[in-house]
């Protein structure tokens, strides 16, 4: 089993530009530290229609209401997430969708780097990589995030919503895991979804592609990425 950079095709070049957008890094940085309610706020605003901050503040009394902190770091983070999410929402529909996806990937990478055994600057955590196995044709689509630690490798695919869970991605993740096992290697297959576990469960229930051995990390559990 070995890892390789994805081919720099047209899609990759365009998407690299999205990933490099400073808005992605700023939003991901805030969301990596966010509470569950703050992450739901981001999800709602980034997929919302309104661009008036007051509308969203009213919708989240736990963050902006009378009982919420009126100042301090929690309040500052809530306000920053609201502002950044509105910036995403104000992009055109197609760009907004791409930016949201890139943010989920970036949050995932940031949280994975918090694992005690990895470290913030480790070269073991990579983006847009393929996993190659002897005698097996390489998958076309790279994994969003990989952890390339010998003996504890992981291939992670990231989705904005539960609807993004489909047969192709489940097959690809499970194939990677089983091919690794064929080579006596351990590879954890993980799907990260910036959506509620309940919605993911409904989506998975309908899938016949193998997924019992694929780890699901939903919105409620994102922090588990940092601790495995």
């Amino acid at each position: 089993m070995r890892f390789q950079d994805a081919s720099p095709d047209a899609r990759a070049v365009v998407y690299a530009g999205i990933q490099a957008d400073p808005l992605v890094a700023r939003a991901a940085g805030r969301l990596a530290d966010a509470t569950h309610d703050q992450r739901i706020l981001a999800r709602a605003v980034m997929n919302g229609m309104s661009t008036t901050p007051g509308t969203w503040a009213a919708m989240f009394p736990s963050l902006f209401g009378a009982g919420a902190p009126s100042d301090g770091p929690e309040r500052a983070r809530s306000e920053a997430i609201l502002a950044l999410s509105l910036e995403v929402a104000e992009r055109g529909e197609q760009v907004r969708s791409q930016v949201r996806g890139a943010i989920v990937e970036s949050v995932t990478e940031a949280l994975v780097r918090r694992r005690p055994e990895i470290g913030a600057t480790s070269t073991a955590v990579r983006r847009e990589r393929r996993v190659l196995f002897d005698g097996v044709r390489a998958e076309i689509h790279p994994y969003d995030v990989t952890v390339e630690t010998p003996g504890a490798a992981e291939a992670i695919d990231c989705k904005w919503g539960a609807r993004g869970i489909n047969a192709d991605v489940l097959h690809q993740l499970d194939d990677a895991r089983t091919h690794a096992a064929d080579e006596d290697e351990q590879l954890t297959a993980t799907i990260v979804v910036f959506d509620a576990e309940r919605s993911c469960a409904v989506r998975l229930e309908r899938q016949t592609a193998p997924h019992d051995a694929t780890r699901l990390i939903a919105l409620e559990d994102l922090d588990r990425l940092g601790g495995r």
């Binding site: 739901i40 999800r43 709602a44 919708m59 609807r163 229930e205």
Partner: protein, 101 residues
């Protein structure tokens, strides 16, 4: 909309907007079963909250939160976005009434 004074009233006030989202989402015919399963799963969760806490007073700001959420849902006019909102709407509602989704 009746005054929202309890958790049960908050969820009852939000339900028609959720049902409207589901109806809009059904325009995506390929996802019809998923849409209905998804909506049923969340409605089940709403009902569980009502059974457990329906008579509790709604917290400060809950009435305004529900009004804002219902208004926002009413702006959704794209069936694909409605599918995403079928998952987002319940999370916002449940957090507003102090529940984990």
């Amino acid at each position: 909309m009746d005054p929202i004074t309890t958790v049960g009233a908050a969820i009852a006030a939000a339900r028609p907007a959720y049902d409207d989202l589901a109806a809009l989402a059904e325009d995506v015919e390929d996802e019809w079963s998923y849409i209905n399963d998804l909506a049923s799963a969340w409605v089940e969760r709403f009902e569980a909250v009502v059974d457990a806490r329906g008579g509790e007073p709604a917290g400060t700001g809950v009435a305004e939160a529900v009004a804002a959420l219902v208004s926002e849902a009413g702006l959704v006019d794209d069936p694909h976005r409605a599918i995403d909102w079928l998952s987002t709407f319940p999370q916002v509602l449940l957090v507003a009434v102090g529940e984990r989704p």
